[in-house]
């Protein structure tokens, strides 16, 4: 069966990137690789919209999140975590693993945090040293108001703004420097459309300064050491050379498309997906601020979301994603980022229609597809 990867990570990798990575291996200490690595470290700053250092680590995104806690916070420090999904919860778990005392803002799944809650929490506990949030909460498909939170945190010289942008970087506008983001984590397997295995972390001067006092033990994720290695266009330990060669190709393609075009494409694909689903009576799961990275759709009343997700795969070769934790069986999720384009969305909508029809749903085939086409036709 022909196969289609439409999950929100790992996402599809383009033939250009697959072929780049299939080239003979470069040695990580050879001048040829260092020239490439220098270009890549500049290009990733372009994507991040930052002049801050951006580290490239041999790990998946969670490794970058781990180091973003261990390098900048100490046991007993206070942190504020926005927990509105599986990945918000992960910030809490990582902070606790490193002895950081967490105050959580529990956000109902499908909703975003109200920035006033951040203000109130920071006023209540001025000792808070970091605010942790997701730019796009992949589990629920919502985008938290990063710009507004950044403006609030900026006013606190002893508090860092820490953003998980794993499924947000390269999808919609996030101005690292403009919005005062001190630490931002991303990963290779989302909008960058690479295989999993790289994480990225941007670090502001304010964060580096706070890091000087951080007391958690670390070795592999020693960000100071990685920064020192960057000075000679290297990594501290062996670089994952193939993935970095792929990254070079991926960033080249993104630069050709341009940030504004990339953001507009993802926004259009996400809108088309949501509207098509509504046209056949399905509800997007987010109650507000849907993310353009991933569209989470509720299974219609009386239909099992897990079965929709499974039928997509088994009957039609389509790998979407099911729901995680409390959403298991209730939603399925489709990616709108990275190498995903117009006809991937047509495929996704057509397949969902066909799966539901097969489950006895009374929809008229082509209804959602038509709505998607209308939107995708527009400039």
């Amino acid at each position: 069966m022909k196969r289609y990867l439409l999950a929100p990570g790992p996402t599809q990798v383009s033939p250009e990137v697959l072929l780049a990575m299939a080239q003979p291996i470069l040695h990580h200490r050879a001048p040829e690789f260092q020239t490439l690595f220098k270009r890549v470290t500049e290009d990733i700053k372009w994507l991040y919209q930052t002049q801050n250092d951006v580290l490239i680590l041999a790990s998946t995104g969670t490794g970058g999140m781990d180091g973003s806690v261990s390098n900048f916070f100490s046991p007993g420090d206070h942190a504020l975590v926005v927990n509105g999904g599986k990945f918000g919860e992960r910030w809490t778990k990582i902070c606790k693993a490193y002895g950081v005392i967490v105050e959580e803002i529990m956000v109902e799944w499908g909703h975003v945090v109200n920035p006033n809650q951040i203000t109130a929490a920071l006023q209540k506990d001025p000792s808070i040293k970091g605010v942790f949030v997701q730019a796009s909460e992949t589990s629920t498909g919502v985008a938290h108001p990063i710009r507004e939170i950044g403006e609030i945190v900026k006013a606190y010289p002893g508090c860092l703004m820490v953003v998980d942008a794993v499924s947000a970087l390269g999808v919609f506008d996030i101005q690292t420097d403009g919005w005062g983001i001190d630490i931002m984590v991303a990963g290779s397997q989302k909008a960058l459309a690479l295989p999993p295995g790289l994480s990225f972390v941007s670090i502001s001067p304010k964060a580096w300064a706070q890091g000087e006092k951080a007391k958690n033990a670390k070795f592999y994720f020693n960000f100071k050491k990685e920064k020192d290695a960057l000075a000679t266009n290297q990594t501290a330990f062996t670089a994952p050379v193939s993935l970095i060669v792929g990254l070079d190709q991926s960033l080249k393609m993104m630069k050709e498309e341009g940030l504004a075009n990339i953001f507009a494409r993802s926004a259009k694909l996400a809108l088309a997906t949501r509207e098509a689903m509504k046209a056949i009576g399905l509800k997007p799961y987010p109650k507000e601020c849907p993310s353009d990275s991933v569209t989470a759709i509720e299974a219609p009343e009386g239909y099992d979301g897990e079965k929709i997700y499974k039928d997509l795969r088994v009957k039609y070769g389509i790998t979407a994603a099911g729901g995680q934790d409390q959403l298991k069986g209730k939603v399925f999720r489709i990616a709108n980022m990275g190498y995903i384009d117009t006809f991937d969305i047509i495929i996704a909508v057509a397949a969902v229609e066909m799966v539901l029809k097969g489950m006895g749903h009374p929809l008229k085939l082509g209804t959602g597809v038509g709505v998607a086409q209308e939107i995708l036709l527009k400039k």
Copy 2:
């Protein structure tokens, strides 16, 4: 210029593996991937010669080393480290980063540790909870006596035998279970002939039991969590799917060749390299027990080792390795492991002869090549 990778990691990756990794991405939670992951976790145990758990991590080898300390040792614990090169020194640095109190056996570079020193140190300090050593010290090209050390450590129920086999696994015989190795770390970019980005850690029941009491903070490298995920043929976080698809292909090829044949091949290639170098008046750097993974060669008196390494690259497109730290400028290093075979060694020897000739060395071209051929001809 045509290029040849002959460095001791990253090593050459076969076209079969490059092509396997260039296939469309699998999703890490899809049943198809889980079937593959189950096979890979069984096959890696075959390579390790073990029934112990073997974790597959998204990091380079140093990440595996980091977790091998943080998961099993606590601040204040005593450890014994064999430090006879750059990677022995790394064990010390990692232990110290995690608050472990290190007693070092300083071994002169180019030599191996005498097992009696291990016995003496353990008798002197019975509170030692781990003995850390390299099976192959990549910086100097020697192989420490793992079997003998394993026999000694076995007698101490409160002490773990921890082996860095990053450049040893899949090169020469290391019997994880037979020799009592509690924790053994390997990486993808050496004998497994994959790009860098995976590390492997085998863990004995004795190590798991000691780990229960370990107090260092960790999250990404939480080995218990990875073990739990293995039960359903998954990784705790996103799996580096492409590298694991490559690993499947690499292990398939290694199983076809068979362990005994792989070990014999590396031994023959290493012998041919050493004898060829001697034939043109160059000395292998190891004073005893040369490793079959990598051959470190001393630059002849009056010749700069760094220039030999650079001329190999610039004049002939060959990436070998230079010397690290105190050996910088004094040695160059050639790999004998992984996808390296007969004619890679012929190329290496011929090129070294040509580079030296170009530097004014009086050798007779073909002398070393002839000696290598003699050895490589033998069964």
